[in-house]
């Protein structure tokens, strides 16, 4: 594993190094002394493994494609925002807007996520070991949000076709978000995601929430678009 010290090398040099076209597929990298800097390991495209040893600032692992990034600590605003594929894991808590607008991949937050977790998510799977703050999954379009703890106010406000699963208490639901039945298919989805995330839990304990489809112009013929 190659080790990169952010304080010595600087952010741009590290991000450039991880984005070189000929970077070895499957190679492992370690970033030390991140010290809360922003935009660490952004825009990665190769299927590499990156371990960040410490707490990161805003927009870490944003726009990720293929890479497997683990933050060993706390993540600031917008972790894995606009992720396309790959996996991002946070071993501590995460600040606001985790996984915002992300199209794909898996985001695992082992601790709590703050407000607006999964805001405008477009296909990402997010598994939160703890609780999420207010306005989570606001205008969420597609993908799955699994919350092992509680959810704050206005969960799923103005939601489209994303699926929300919460094991604990939901403070209240946002506009056009309703509780829905957990079918075998949904139990399997949650079970698979918990296993992929490495988080213990019985999928049968979760409740499902989603769109009542009264607020936006839903047409069943377009369901495949989500």
């Amino acid at each position: 594993m190659a080790s990169l010290n952010l304080q010595t090398l600087g952010l741009r040099a590290i991000n450039a190094q991880l984005n070189t076209g000929d970077i070895a597929s499957g190679s492992s990298w370690e970033i030390t002394e991140p010290k809360g800097q922003h935009a660490i390991a952004c825009g990665l495209q190769a299927d590499i493994k990156v371990d960040i040893r410490g707490h990161v600032g805003f927009y870490c692992a944003g726009m990720n494609q293929n890479a497997d990034v683990t933050v060993h600590g706390h993540a600031g605003v917008g972790i894995a925002e606009n992720m396309m594929s790959g996996q991002v894991r946070v071993t501590g808590n995460a600040s606001q807007a985790a996984g915002a607008t992300a199209h794909g991949g898996l985001l695992v937050i082992e601790g709590d996520a703050s407000s607006r977790c999964g805001i405008s998510m477009k296909g990402i799977d997010i598994v939160v070991g703890g609780s999420v703050g207010h306005m989570s999954a606001f205008m969420a379009q597609s993908g799955n949000l699994v919350v092992c703890g509680d959810a704050g106010e206005a969960l799923g406000d103005s939601i489209y076709e994303a699926r929300l699963f919460v094991r604990g208490k939901v403070e209240n639901l946002g506009a056009d978000c309703i509780e829905k039945t957990m079918t075998e298919e949904h139990i399997k989805t949650v079970d698979d995601l918990l296993k992929k995330a490495g988080i213990d839990g019985d999928a049968k304990d979760f409740k499902r929430y989603g769109s009542a489809r009264q607020l936006y112009n839903f047409d069943i013929d377009n369901a495949d678009a989500y």
Partner: protein, 304 residues
Amino acid sequence: MCGIVGLYLKNETLRPKLGELFAPMLSEMRSRGPDSAGVAIYRNSVADSETKYSLAHDSSEYDWKAIDTGIESTFKCEARITQIDTHAILVSTLAENDLRSWIAEYHPQVRLVGSGQSLEIFKEVGLPDDVYRRFSLKQAEGSHMIGHTRMATESAVTTAGSHPFATGSDLCLVHNGSLSNHNRLREQLQKEGLHFQTENDTEVAAAYMTWKLRQGLSLHSALEGAIDDLDGFYTFCVGTGDGFAVLRDPIACKHAVMAETDDWVAMATEFRSIATLPDSNNANIWEPKPATVYTWGGQGEVMH
């Protein structure tokens, strides 16, 4: 956009290093606020019979000695003044109202920016590192500090518009955000007899806190009242005699992060300020919840 930071030392053996530990915290926030900076430091408590006043003037050449000799001859009470650049710390048995009206009459360009037993406030226009250096804060010893770096949005870049703003005895406030109902609230508070030195929205929040505390409310209750009465975006860090308090508006758009170890508790707009503290890598780190009053101090416990 602004940056705010707070540090409270739980481990008393770190107190001689307070200024040194706080310097990089404030410095990290220079990109969020290059216009002006200010800090409140809690140190060197005076006797119960005395009050410590923080005074400021536009010029470091001001004749500060005229103030303590003037007070001694006018009020026949003790007064000692120590100049630090454009500020001066006055310790006196004189009551605040008497001092305020005397200064208004004889030293109208001097601003009373804070008062209490241990609170001292220093604020100036310029980059945070420069402001910190001017007031020799790196060598400062004390129990806790709060600080602010300002990128002005609501009012002019002046020393008077710099934070922290005093809110009562040993209380002051720094703010990241902007209040939308400050004009009307200022008018209401003026009718209640509160005085304003600037057009700044944060000064209104400070005056609101002063007004609530005068009514006998606890700091916690006063901050809970602020959730109902202040409209706009805010993360406040309120310095108190034995720690500090944090409050975010119900929408919580303005960033904030808190961290705690056995030795210290800290809050900042961004974690990179806290990352400079010893053992920050092993700190418990979390984002404060919206519309929730957090009070740190005394034993370093979090109450909310």
